[in-house]
């Protein structure tokens, strides 16, 4: 499963060869550095640890500084592991966006935008209670009954209610890669990607 860490730049659109307007997301993907290689013999599983987005040494703890020094790279802000990477890479190798090519289908993982405390209509797609007429009021976005008074006389576990919404890890599957600009470390994918601009996203093909 090859993959790369990136940063969401933003969305825009363009016209393709057939004249259709295509909405797309720009991702600054890589370059990532291999900061550790985990093997079956030592770690019990095979994986590659990638680092992305350089940060200053003074903002890095001593143990981490040494960890990055082993790979011979400046400290990285985002460090993630990719199981069974597939590509032969050595410690300190750079991985850039050209491991993917135009037309590839990829999965993209990001943390969705936080929405704060939301009601059930926004959070779970409830439709509110009843209508606006027949003397009803104040019930347009209400969750309705929770648990009956005689039976079950309690609220079932896991009942969907209001609460914190968004800010969850979301994976979007089968996004097609429209364009790749390897010299700019830029990847353009079709449609949207979870998270605000500037947030980290993981691009991988683990179908």
């Amino acid at each position: 499963m090859k993959g790369i860490i990136g940063k969401k730049v933003g969305m825009t659109s363009y016209f393709d060869e057939t004249g259709k307007s295509i909405s797309c997301t720009l991702i600054e993907a890589g370059p990532c550095v291999v900061t550790q290689i985990k093997t079956n013999d030592i770690d019990g599983y095979s994986a590659v640890q990638l680092g992305f987005d350089t940060k200053k040494d003074k903002n890095t703890s001593k143990p981490l500084q040494k960890h990055f020094a082993k790979a011979g790279t400046p400290a990285k802000r985002k460090v993630l592991e990719f199981r069974d990477f597939g590509l032969e890479k050595a410690l300190g190798d750079t991985i850039s966006v050209d491991i993917f090519s135009e037309g590839d289908k990829v999965n993209i993982v990001g943390v969705s935008k936080g929405k704060g405390f939301q009601g059930v209509v926004k959070r779970h797609g409830f439709h509110g209670v009843g209508g606006q007429t027949h003397g009803q009021h104040d019930r347009n976005r209400a969750p309705g009954s929770l648990g009956g008074s005689s039976y079950p006389s309690r609220v079932f576990k896991g009942l969907r209610m209001a609460g914190r919404d968004g800010g969850k890890t979301v994976k979007i599957r089968n996004i097609s890669v429209l364009k790749i600009f390897a010299d700019k470390n830029l990847m353009v994918v079709n449609g949207c990607v979870p998270g605000p601009k500037g947030s980290y996203v993981v691009i991988k093909n683990d179908n």
């Binding site: 659109s13 363009y14 016209f15 004249g19 700019k184 830029l186």
Partner: protein, 126 residues
Amino acid sequence: MDAIKFFHQEVTQKKDYPAFRAGDNVTVNYKILEGTKERIQAYRGEVIQRKGQGATQTFTVRKISNGVGVERVFPLFSPSIDSIDINKHGKVRRARIYYIRDLKGKKARIKEKRMPTATAEVADKG
């Protein structure tokens, strides 16, 4: 932001349209696909607004068709636009002339801005 600008430069074809702004009377020659045949339809009206930046700019053209106001939004870099002709430069004070929607008849006219012609400029200098 720079990455988006770069991307726009990469994917948009350069178009040579004359400069126009809100209040101008333009004819947009728009390509329409009928089955397999392509023909060009002219849409003439006043530009109400220009919106957006980079490759995703749009402009809105309003006309009165059979007594009904019609507004159409064109993406500036749409490959379906064959050409844009300017018929008149309008004299308006704002960039978005939404107020024209509420006006009827003689009030809805836009004063024409007379551009100094090339010969007039030469005469001034001489």
